[in-house]
């Protein structure tokens, strides 16, 4: 249990700071250089992204685990109605994943927009303008893709991420995006008062700032392993039980 919590914590820290979505993975660059003109706007955008990314992560985790991944429970059951169980077990719908994700994202954005407009008008006023922009924000699709790779790309089914980890990654990534975009907005407000050479005005100087920012964030490299080491009890070099357990073919 403790190790699970540590895992969750480190996934969150990793997505938010160490491997920041914007400054390390370069996703969400467009709003990063485009929208971040005012701190309040940037913060609103960031909150909207966290909101949507969390919903999209839950949806994509569920779809991937139960429908898309090879031998997924739901697909297997449904297919089992029509074809022999052996064939049904081998069903693999991962080829549909990109299409499914992008539609999951756009429909969740639509849904969030409707829901928020109906039940939280003040929130809609604050976030509403950013919601349509988010559909094409690559940070969200990127989070879905990472979650997919952690489910379908692992060697052992036991290592596949559960919902908690997926959600943490998504929210951590969203927070990382917000941190980056708010810092950037603060700097942009300052840059408006600076005598930046004309060719560099606008996006070019933003990119340079992002470069220096990403230099600074490089300092966090390894913090996760340091934290893990500090929080975990001394690693076991020798496994205590070695039963003759063998699985597979």
């Amino acid at each position: 249990m403790i190790s699970y919590l540590i895992d969750i914590f480190l996934i969150g820290i990793g997505a938010a700071l160490i491997n920041n979505f914007v400054l390390y993975y370069f996703v969400g660059i467009c709003p990063f250089v485009g929208v971040s003109r005012k701190i309040s706007t940037a913060f609103g955008m960031g909150c909207a992204v966290i909101f949507v990314i969390a919903i999209a992560a839950v949806i994509s985790w569920a779809i991937t685990t139960y429908v898309l991944m090879p031998g997924a429970l739901l697909s297997r059951t449904v297919a089992g109605l029509f074809v022999p169980p052996e064939t049904a077990a081998g069903i693999d719908l991962t080829i549909l994943s990109y299409i499914v994700y992008i539609f999951a994202i756009s429909s969740s954005v639509q849904f969030v927009e409707m829901y928020v407009r109906k039940f939280f008008p003040p929130l809609y006023k604050a976030l509403g303008v950013y919601l349509p922009l988010i559909t094409t924000n690559c940070a969200i699709l990127f989070a879905c893709l990472v979650i997919m790779s952690k489910i379908t790309g692992v060697d052992n089914p036991a290592d596949a991420w559960d919902l908690g980890r997926a959600l943490t990654l998504a929210v951590g990534g969203g927070i990382g995006f917000t941190i980056a975009i708010v810092i950037m907005a603060g700097i942009r407000e300052e840059l408006d008062l600076c005598d930046v050479p004309k060719p560099f005005k606008g996006v070019a100087i933003s990119l340079i700032v992002a470069g220096i920012l990403s230099l600074g964030f490089m300092g966090f490299t390894g913090v996760d392993s340091g934290l893990r080491k500090a929080m975990m009890p001394k690693p076991e070099v020798v496994a205590q039980v070695q039963p003759e357990a063998e699985a597979g073919k």
Binding site: L96, N156, D224, S225, R228, A239, V241, A245, G248
Partner: protein, 227 residues
Amino acid sequence: MKPIQQMEPLSPTAFERLRNNNIIQAWLVLILTLCFGSSLAGIQMTLGPKIEENKLNETLEKIPELILGAEGAQKLTESGEKLDVIPRSFVVDKPGKKAVYNVYEAFDKDKKRLGWVVKTGGQGYADRIELLLGVDPEVKTVSGIFVLEQKETPGLGNKITFEEWRGQFKGKNTETPMGVVKGGKAGAGDINAITGATISSRAVTDIVNMAVADLKGPLTANAEGGK
């Protein structure tokens, strides 16, 4: 859409109602979906196996070198022979969780077991390090390691992928865990750290030690049982 409706202010006949039905309006989407769906299925049919093969080959390609060493592998390809590789999976119960190892058992053409290759990984300095570890059939010595994936600091930590460094593991005894020593003064059972990247060096060594400790029992037991 609206201008069209304004141009046709006729009374809504049954046909009109049908026309304005959402499903009917989406006919283009439905047709496209069908076309794309079938072509995707075709792609999956034709390319799917190939991709799987690529994935598997990535590991399999390295096995001869890890078991036989670079020269041995060279000879093997020259002679045109191939190793028989059987993928297996071992579950090791550890306190708190079960560790699952994918292990490849390698035989020569005479069905003689040449060694094991273990796919393992662990936290490095920056991110997870994934590596392949080759051991002899009795799990007495390490026959080689190969780093599959790593994101260590370029220029420092990523030297773990260099042959000069990882070559050190070859022939190391597995009786006692290997240590990491700085300054190039490694003894028989130790590994020389990369200058300025002791942590990466230690991470790899720890991963190897852990895998060896976890699997020594099951593998030797299996080897004996297999006889």
